[in-house]
Amino acid sequence: MRPRLPRRCREAPPHPLRTAVAAVFAAVAALGALAPAACSRAPEPPDLLRVRLPHEPSTLDPALSRDVTSIGVLTPIFETLVKVDPSTLELRPALAQQWEVSEDGLTYTFHLREGARFHHGREVEAQDVVFSLTRLLSSDRPSPGAEILDPVAGADEFRNADADRLEGLEALDSRTVRIRLERPYAPFLVRLTTIHAAVVPRDIYGGPEKEYVRQPVGSGPFRFAEWRPAQWLRLERFSGYAPVAAQLAGIQFRIIEDQVAALEEFRRGGLDFLDEVPPGRVSSTIEEFGELYHRWNTLTTSHLLFNNSVPPLAGNVLLRRALNLAVNRQRLCEVLLEGLHVPASGILPHGMPGFDPGRPAYRENLEEARRLLAEAGYPNGDKLPPLLLLFNTNPRVQRIVEQVQIDLARIGVRLELRSADGAAFLEALTSGEWGGRPLHMVRLGWSADYPDPDSFLGVQLLSRNAGLAGNFSRYSNPEVDALIEKARRTLDAEQRYTLYREVERLAADRDVCWLFLYFHRSQLLVSSRVQGLVPVVLGNGVFPYEQLSLAP
């Protein structure tokens, strides 16, 4: 019904309400009118490399960093004494131009690079190295990298405050650092390449002002410029970097959580590096972007850890073997993971030094699985209680464990699935319990902190690391412990790798410590203007940005 309203015939006094309504209308109209005018995007400096971050870095202090995102942001800002080439995984000089290791493997002498400067202008001195490494043990919050210094002479005394300085660590002069170890420890050099061991200027990081928490200062090829929380972080080229400054004018790390939104942003040209493709869109992305899509092996694995300390899995190797034979990893990788990852062949991932390419990938064999299950005392899974499996909350992981659940049901083994995230997952992982019940299996992804077999085998299998220190499956075998300790004392690389292969044979093949799933490959969409791209194997967020340039 249309109200028929006569024309008005007298002027009314203005009323606040009318003014308010008019103001709202005016505001809406103004917004509408202004929007197109503001549509031209604020131009960004053209030669910044724009890299997507899936979330905010948790810290900008290299000593405290622990997640891939923080490490990826901090690596271009800081330098360590030695570094790992992310493609070849070989050790390369960084702040130390050269170094010597004594015959007995106990003394390391590092000579600092001529002309190395911090971003605030001062030259890097040996005393800064001593300060930075000592800081891992003595900073007001202990560093997750503190264990790097475990083999250094006097570390325990210093940690327990029985000594006021770390005895094994000294600056011989302003350019020379000497580190003495208590016992030979072969992975020592490679562990010095992790971001925790970054060298920081002692005048800034030693002062009472904690500005460095928000404004990190290092000596790397890029200097920190600005951080807008939940938006982006910007690094600029450090022109004082010797011998050759980076070519990129800078890097803008853009924080974009949502995978679909990030892919759209890449498509629009707002990103140069995109590290993830939404589940279900891998093949369409490859089709659309062709050569811009890259896929590399990385040092990351996904396995289901058995709890080797509680029945029925503890003490029943036949049962553990039967479970391993019942999973169809090919289908898992090709269908659910869209061909991204590959079936595992053991504990050490493809590309890891010491990896044995001769090991065959695990395959399913249902007949054999059923036979072993019967031999293990559970014919057709009868009398076997449901096994409790915990996974971290993540849609992709959930699909994987559900598929494993279906696979195992074929031989009569039932899985009960539970998920948790963040701290709750970590707590269950550490305690081996969920809601007062023992966990039988945990799905765990594991990335190498440093490219050395020890970062998998040593950390995850040593019986004294049971629980929080990394051995979550509570695997315990004195023979394996002895072999790992021996490998750590063996300086010859090939001999060491032989020992680690023996460890893998005992733990994976003989004891079947876990249910092995797959090795990861990383994916990266790179815009066509990026030049100088190299494959990156070290899957911990480290990228050699200093080697890149952008086409004009």
């Binding site: 006569p6 809406v28 929007a35 549509c39 810290t59 498509r267 707002g270 709750a424 707590e427």
Partner: protein, 319 residues
Amino acid sequence: MWGFLGRRLLQLLPVWLATALIVWGMVFALPGDPAALLAGHQRADPQVVAAIRIEWGLDRPWPQQLATYLGRLLRFDLGHSYVQRRDVTEILGDHFPPTLLLALAAMALATGGGLVAGIVAAVWRGRWPDRLVRMAAAVTTSAPGFWVAIVLVLIFASTLRWLPGLGYGDSGIEILGVRMPALAHLVLPALSLSLFGIGMMARLVRASLVDALGHGYVKAAQARGAGPLRVIVVHALRNALLPLLTWSGLHFAALLGGAVATEIVFSWPGLGRAMVTAIAQRDLPVVEGAVILLATVFVIVNLLVDLSYVLLDPRLRRA
């Protein structure tokens, strides 16, 4: 009037206290040890974990932790972030203004769009404009926010390329120390956040207005010779507005706290995203501070709604 205001402000105190207690209890009951998460993601040196527990007082019994927490609150100290190592007030200061701006813009769009659509629907009741508005309102009020956001990005950012798809942009303008977003960056998040409000508002305006237009005073105004616009805006709408105000106040407060999905899709640096991150990292002081801030805003918005009743309705002023 002032007495009323004073009484309402005093009522804030128990609300605050209750919120603070509930939040603390919930956060305390969350499974997972923040110290272990801080110390090393998946594996950690037990010595490091112990040191962090002592540093943050997590090793003390819960009554003592609660007392410390309440003591800090009484001094208006929201504490210090475990993860970011800076004051919670500073973090909230970074993230609340973008959320407030987004909510204001969405509210302006919802009010403007909803009023226009509702008036059109009421005036042409039963005709095609009415049916169109009601159908559109049904769609916008039932579509989930994150889906609307993605669809808007696909249309306006990816296909038409009229607007940026995500981010806060940089207008270079600072107001009261708060960086303003580029206007173009505000459009899509505000629009996707406002669609539900536009639909709801249109329905409410239509219903109230249809009711008001049937009243005798409207006919009387027409008989006195008031113009069509004047009859609708001054006589009918003004009386129809009061019930809308309550809904608008609650909706605005909900926008401030519930824009998480929109903020994540558009990478908007707001409070919702900061809270989600903080919860995952068990950065308890940030979670507590953000909830207390939102509760405060909720109470204040409600207070303003009550006050505006008094301004709009002379009967309440005399009462």
